[in-house]
């Protein structure tokens, strides 16, 4: 319930939201947890394993109990911490991990079976029969155990990722962080202040303290106003720094739109990568629970959370509150409750020697041994130095002391060190280069300690950066000593929870130790302590203290498990922002793209490029109808195809020819001017990298063409060879792929079509010639090359003229009985000629395999030559390129077998790489690799394709089906 006059919420603004289908009202400035508590809801979820009713434990991101599902249209986001989720109008949340209603969860039967469900239970019980584990036991356990449910739909909401740079990253905006930020901002440093909460101020928002004689908030607001006014400061709220990485890089998750109704353009979250020259960890500390019997009932909370709900949210978490603590600091909570008019039943101090002077009953040497209340705390029982007690109470505020929030200092393998004074781990110096922890994160728990160490850390960081922090008067604040006597657990006849999120009790830890899991890492995995979404933030230190006790070792010797990124859970969608759907990879469009789409061509992806598959015409019912027609254009008239996607690399310099001789298997230094030559390129391991044509445009000037798919790869290869094998050779190369739009014009009427567009009719222009031409005054390059076996040309114009030339060429071709052809026809044409693509040079084939071993020049060395000569790469044992023909359809990927042998991988003779229906030959043809294939032309092999259920005979033949003498392309 709300307390009048308390809290930082906006009482004038009501916010309505729904929880488990019921409408509630809260205020702007409320979290879901504070709003539910204000509405008197105590049970907000069910526990992981035993399905016990659970309530809000904390007021921060470490919350282990109050995990809810946030519902949106078609979406649900599970495991959202109600202590972090801000309410907004229309927010719909529901509790998770129960069968039936939250109040009457059928799975809570598990709690009755608790004696059997201790650590290692599943491992021991569901051993037999073995096959049942995967099919029966595990799915059943998984369904009953656990967390919220994901939506079955893909998350289509917008997410974002971003980078930031700064001189100093300050993590946390409590007194330490604000002081550090002020100090460094005044020094002129470029500062980012990142705060996980939606409001800056850290513990000062909850603690109701005095700084410089005024309420702490006055100081906070003044500091923030100054920081906000400075151009060198960036304030980032709702931003959790989740990881520390090499070179001063920090990961951070910003909740951008999670506190508002969804918006089409507003990202839900943004994942930041912040590069900081220095960082100050001012993340404060987390209060730790006490593992006393039945300590998990709704209403049992952290003392600091009770204080936070009181002072920040104006919510009393109970009508009769009891405080149970082992330290002085926690008593502030009881005093503030009383001052606000909330009745405090008693202060239970575990220390026999603590002060008993308070305005309420104080029990010293106290131990809570039993709690009552099925759906929320009603009463507690225990003993103290003076006897036993039973108290009616509906809220127990517990404090077992504080752990510095040092997780980030461990992200690069740093190990924290044990401080016996604080009974806590503190960060090791230098654990993350450039980062220092200050304030409570470094064990300075008073506000004065926070302000002074925050200031000192900033002064040092500024000095490291060569900046001078101006003198600054340290504000005055409380500096109470931190007095505590460790209290990890209270023994009793009931279970005492350590890890609320994963339902791990003190008994599980001692049992793990008894069963030999004495290493902290083994204990963790055996009991699952620390493996829930809160990653053991509330339980790690207590668990290992108990393990230390059970094994007779000290805490420092027992050590901690490793804190790894992320500090709090990060949605995968945020990490993957910018990589979903079309944004997964760039789309590359040719200049003819619109013209092809205008003709209804379906576009297919080739690498990142979109190319027309075929150009359908009215009346055609199957893509093959269109393909056959386009093939016949080229064989009988003239066809036009956009081939701009092929890689083009301009190579110049005195050593250009020598360089090409090194990267190609064949010789290019002997290539005459204005001529083109086909070249084969090997990888360093001797297998084929790529093929293509290279033209000699000048004495020291070549133009290399690569395949579409390998354009980037070849560029990288050339760079590598240049840098590692030919560093002092004088040559320069650059991609000109994008500079030229290039079109293939092929067929018996190709020359006639060309002559109709060229400014000067073509003179003698033999096969494999290259030369400059002009089209409508535009300078162009003409190549006489053919990938179809017909008389073929490729004309290249500057890209900006590409679309115009394509449309013009196609229109002219159509008047000549031809037209455009797409990738399908292009593939048929090349297969009829036995020309290879990356379907054949797929990375496992050598020059010998594709029948091009004679292209590896004996007169010179080349990249890959020696390795290609290795034993086993050049003989009858190799699968060699052959042609296949068949009267019926077959598919690529099919395997080939000698007739009469068993169909088995060990008897396989080879496989099909490409196939098509050849309208020219009137049968199905393909390319394949067959063992000793060149000696087996004429043999019938059995083709088996389990994927397509094909089983037929194919005839092995020469891979060149059409015009093997090449008369047509030279015509």
């Amino acid at each position: 319930m709300r307390i009048a006059g308390k809290g930082l919420i906006d009482r004038d603004t009501q916010v309505s939201f729904r929880f488990n289908g019921t409408s509630y009202v809260g205020h702007r400035g409320d979290t879901l947890a504070s709003a539910l508590l204000a509405n008197g809801l105590r049970v907000v979820g069910r526990s992981f394993k035993y399905h016990r009713p659970r309530g809000v434990l904390t007021a921060g991101s470490e919350e282990p109990n109050a995990l809810v599902e946030i519902m949106e249209e078609g979406q649900q986001t599970p495991n959202t911490r109600a202590t972090v989720q801000e309410i907004f109008d229309g927010l719909e949340a529901r509790s998770q991990n129960h069968l039936g209603s939250l109040r009457w969860d059928l799975w809570s039967l598990n709690d009755l079976a608790a004696p059997f469900l201790s650590a290692g239970f599943y491992y021991k019980t569901f051993m037999w029969p073995r096959a049942f584990w995967e099919k029966l036991y595990e799915p059943a356990i998984r369904r009953a155990a656990g967390l919220g449910n994901l939506s079955p739909n893909a998350d289509t909401a917008p997410y974002e990722k971003a980078w930031a740079s700064c001189d100093l990253l300050v993590i946390g905006s409590g007194p330490t962080g604000l002081m550090a930020a002020l100090t460094s901002a005044r020094a002129g440093a470029d500062v980012i202040l990142a705060e996980e909460d939606f409001r800056m101020g850290g513990a000062l928002l909850s603690a109701d303290q005095v700084i410089d004689g005024q309420p702490a908030l006055v100081w906070v607001e003044a500091a923030l106003a100054e920081l906000d006014s400075l151009p060198n400061v960036r304030l980032m709220t709702r931003t959790t720094v989740t990881g520390a990485y090499d070179s001063g890089v920090f990961g951070a998750l910003e909740r951008v739109g999670l506190h508002r109704a969804p918006d089409a353009h507003l990202p839900r979250e943004c994942f930041w990568r912040i590069t900081a020259r220095r960082a100050i960890l001012a993340s404060g500390a987390m209060e730790r629970p006490i593992a006393f019997p039945l300590n998990d009932r709704p209403g049992i909370m952290m003392a600091s959370a009770v204080q936070s709900y009181l002072n920040r949210f104006g919510v009393a978490t109970g009508r009769r509150v009891t405080l149970y603590a082992n330290n002085d600091a926690a008593r502030v909570t009881a005093r503030q409750l009383m001052a606000a008019g909330v009745r405090v039943a008693a202060i239970l101090d575990s220390r026999p020697d603590a002060s008993a002077v308070e305005d309420c009953p104080v029990y010293l040497g106290a131990e809570v041994l039993e709690t009552h209340g099925r759906h929320g705390l009603r009463a507690i029982q225990g003993r103290h130095t003076g006897g036993e007690f039973r108290l009616d109470t509906d809220c127990l505020a517990m404090s077992g002391g504080w752990n510095p929030t040092l997780h980030l200092t461990c992200h690069m393998n740093g190990r924290p060190k044990w401080s016996a004074d604080l009974a806590a781990f503190v960060p090791s110096d230098g654990a993350v280069p450039g980062l220092v922890a200050a304030g409570a994160a470094n064990g300075s728990f008073s506000t004065h300690g926070a302000l002074s160490t925050g200031h000192a850390a900033a002064v040092q960081a500024m000095a490291d950066l060569g900046l001078t922090a101006p003198d600054l008067a340290l504000p005055t604040a409380e500096d109470a000593p931190y007095r505590l006597t460790p209290l990890w657990s209270v023994k009793g006849k009931h279970r005492a929870w350590l890890d609320f999120a994963n339902d791990v009790t003190t008994k599980d830890i001692t049992q793990a130790a008894q069963e030999g899991y004495t290493s902290v890492e083994h204990m963790k995995r055996y009991t699952t302590q620390g493996m829930a979404p809160d990653q053991g933030k509330n339980s790690n230190v207590a668990a290992l203290a108990l393990l230390a006790d059970a094994t007779g070792r000290g805490i420092p010797e027992t050590g901690t498990t490793t804190f790894r990124p992320p500090f709090t859970p990060i949605s995968i969608a945020a990490l993957g922002a910018g990589g979903r759907g079309k944004t997964f990879a760039p789309q590359r469009f040719m200049t003819s793209d619109q013209a092809s789409r205008d003709r209804g061509a379906p576009m297919i992806e080739a690498g990142l490029w979109y190319r027309p598959s075929y150009f359908p015409k009215h009346g055609e019912t199957h893509w093959r109808d269109s393909c056959n027609r386009e093939v016949s254009y080229v064989r009988n008239a003239v066809g036009v195809a956009d081939v701009s996607t092929l890689g083009k690399i301009d190579i110049q310099g005195r050593d250009a020819a020598r360089f090409l001789d090194l990267v190609y298997t064949n010789t290019f230094s002997t290539l005459p001017l204005n001529r083109v030559r086909y070249g084969l390129m090997l990888r360093e391991d001797g297998l084929v990298l790529d093929d293509g044509t290279t033209a000699r445009l000048g004495e020291n000037h070549y133009l290399m063409t690569t395949t579409t798919a390998a354009a980037g790869l070849v560029m990288r290869h050339l760079d590598f060879v240049h840098q590692t094998h030919a560093a002092d050779w004088d040559l320069r190369f650059i991609s000109v792929t994008e500079t030229w739009a290039q079109f293939a014009i092929a067929g018996p009427k190709a020359r006639a079509l060309l002559n109709s567009v060229l400014d000067q009719p073509l003179g003698d222009f033999p096969f494999m010639a290259v030369g400059p031409v002009t089209v409508g005054g535009v300078k162009a390059r003409l190549f006489r090359i053919s990938f179809s076996g017909e008389q073929g040309y490729e004309i290249a114009v500057p890209t900006r003229y590409g679309e115009a030339l394509f449309r013009d060429l196609v229109a002219r071709a159509e008047t000549m009985g031809g037209g455009p052809y797409g990738m399908e026809a292009l593939n048929v044409l090349r297969l009829e000629k036995g020309f290879i693509t990356h379907a054949e040079i797929h990375g496992r084939t050598g020059a010998f395999d594709i029948g091009m071993d004679k292209m590896v020049s004996a007169k010179k060395d080349c990249i890959g030559k020696r390795m290609a000569m290795r034993e086993g790469l050049n003989g009858p044992e190799r699968e060699q390129l052959v042609g296949l023909r068949c009267k019926t359809e077959f598919g690529s990927g099919a395997h080939l077998f000698t007739q009469g042998t068993r169909v088995h991988r060990e008897t396989g003779q080879g496989y099909v790489t490409s196939m098509c229906y050849s309208p020219t030959l009137g049968e199905w043809i393909g390319l394949a690799f067959v063992k000793n294939g060149r000696a087996r032309h004429g043999e019938d092999l059995r083709l088996v394709d389990h994927m397509r259920n094909t089983d037929c005979l194919v005839t092995v033949c020469n891979p060149v089906f059409f015009d093997p003498e090449g008369g047509k392309l030279r015509a």
Binding site: W163, A585, P586, D650, N700, H701, I734, T739, W740, R800
Partner: protein, 180 residues
């Protein structure tokens, strides 16, 4: 005889202005790559003198009037806004005019838009006029240089639409935050 019409990759695409920041396609006209051969930078500087330019050191640009020379890699720069002088055998040159698509991002939030697209720090304090960089734009390779109050972005022409979409998306999301 055909009359070939020239078209840029983002032909017809208007500018997008949100939160005081404008994304607009730009036609840079003639672009020539200049790659000096070993020991030839001096000769090239002499040849560039009439344009008022000299070969730029790494990660910088040289500008004079409309002409600009942008460093794009080791021994490589793009000459923009001027016909290339005859460099003889001192350098390898290629026409790159249609190969690149240019976007101009100007206004108050340039650095914030770019923070969504590229790891480099594009705040004026870190990337001032005269500086150039070769870095990623989303998943694409890009060339960047700073002008007064604006950032120029070059990507491969074929990827122009994706470059536009990525930049426009980043700007739109930023504007949605401003409205939040």
């Amino acid at each position: 005889m055909p009359e070939l019409i020239a078209k840029t990759a983002l032909d017809g695409q208007g500018a997008l202005t949100l939160i005081g920041t404008t994304l607009a396609p730009v036609d840079l006209g003639i672009i020539t790559s200049i790659a000096p051969f070993a020991g030839q930078v001096k000769a090239i500087d002499t040849a560039l003198k009439p344009l008022g330019l000299s070969f730029p050191p790494p990660n910088t640009t040289a500008a004079s009037g409309a002409a600009r020379l942008v460093w794009t890699g080791p021994d490589q720069a793009l000459l923009i806004g001027a016909d290339a002088p005859d460099l003889g055998t001192a350098a390898a040159t290629t026409d790159q005019s249609g190969g690149w698509s240019a976007l101009r991002l100007s206004g108050a939030r340039v650095a914030d838009v770019m923070a969504r697209l590229c790891p480099l720090d594009f705040r004026p304090s870190a990337f001032a006029p005269g500086q150039a960089a070769r870095a990623q734009l989303g998943h694409m390779n890009a060339v960047f240089w700073a002008e007064k109050d604006a950032l120029m972005i070059l990507t491969f022409r074929s990827m122009a639409q994706t470059a536009w979409d990525e930049c426009a998306h980043a700007l739109t999301a930023l504007a949605a935050r401003a409205g939040a």
